[in-house]
C-alpha cells in the first residue's frame, strides 16, 4: 500500500518518539527534521487515515491544565504499519539506487 510523504514523515516521527508520540511532539519532530511544520489538522487527518488502515493505534493520556483539561492522544505504530513503512522506504532507496547507477544527480543533493 502506498504512503504519502506526510504519512511517511508521521510514521517515522512516531517511531522515533514512541511511546510519547502525540500531536505536538510529532509536529515538532517533523519541523526539526524537515524544516516544514504540518498543520494540526493535516496531521490528525493523516493519522485518522493511518488508523483506519490499521497502521497506527491511538491511546488516550492524562488531561492537563495547560491543555484545558483535554487528554493527549498518543500514537503507536502497529506491526503492519512498521512493515508498510519499511517497504515504502525501501522503494525510495531502490529508486535512488537506480539514479545512482545512471549517474543521476539532483540539484544540490548527493544521492
Amino acid at each position: 500500500m502506498e504512503l504519502t510523504a506526510l504519512e511517511q514523515h508521521l510514521m517515522l516521527a512516531i517511531l522515533g518518539l514512541q511511546p510519547q508520540a502525540y500531536g505536538i511532539s510529532i509536529q515538532d519532530r517533523i519541523k526539526d527534521r524537515t524544516g516544514r511544520e504540518p498543520s494540526t489538522g493535516s496531521v490528525y487527518a493523516a493519522l485518522d487515515r493511518l488508523e483506519e488502515k490499521g497502521f497506527v493505534v491511538a491511546r488516550q493520556g492524562e488531561p492537563t491544565a495547560a491543555r484545558g483539561g483535554k487528554r493527549k492522544l498518543y500514537f503507536e505504530l502497529t506491526a503492519p504499519g512498521q512493515h508498510t513503512l519499511m517497504r515504502s522506504l525501501q522503494a525510495i532507496d531502490s529508486m535512488k539506487q537506480g539514479l545512482r547507477s545512471k549517474g543521476g544527480r539532483l540539484k544540490g543533493a548527493t544521492i
Binding site: 502525540y22 489538522g41 491511538a58 488516550q60 495547560a66 491543555r67 483535554k70 487528554r71 493527549k72
Partner: protein
Amino acid sequence: MSKKKPKEHMIAWRLFGSGLSLNFQDECATLNAARFNVDIPVYLTNYDQVLERTMNIQHAKMLEQLHKWSATVTHNGADHPSNGDVDFQGIGETDKHIFIQATVSGTQVRIADEGIPPEPPKVADFLLTVFASSSAKKDGIVGDINERFARECDQMGVSRARRRYWSRTLHTVWPLLSRAVAKAVKWGAVIEGVRRYF
C-alpha cells in the same frame, strides 16, 4: 428551582524544592462540595526538578480560600506536620498566572506556580469540536491547540497568542473538513453501489 452546575477549573501545581514532600489540605468549610485533599508524596531530589499535579476545583471561589491552607512538610523521610515549617504567604495573581508563595524552613521558595492559562477563543474551540472525527480526536486536537496557546501566551503575550490560535484553528479545520467530506463521499458511494445491486 434548578441549581446551576459550578464551573470546573483544572489547576496544575508545580512544586519546587529539595528533598521535600508537601501535603496540602484544604480548610475551607464554607464550600463543602469543593472540599478536597491533595497529597504530593514525591521526594524531589534536586531543586530544579519540577513536579506537576492536576486536580479539579469545582468552584472558582475556591481560589479565594487558598490562603487558608495548612501543610505538612516531610523532610528526608520525617514528617513535620503543622509545626510552622511551612508558612503560606498567600496567593498572587497576574494576568496569566495564579501562584502561591511560601516560606519552607525559613527559606523563601515558590512552592507552587499555578498555570491556569487564559481561556482560548470559544468560537474557535467550537469549530474544532464540530469537525473532529471522534471525541478522542477532538480532545487530542483541541488539547494540542490549547497547549500551544498556553505556551505562546507565556512567550508572546495573550493577544498575539489569540491571533495565532485563530490562525491555527482555521488551518486545522480545512483538512478535517476535507477528511469528513471524503469519508462521507466514500460511504455514500458504497451505499449507492449496494442500492444499485439490489
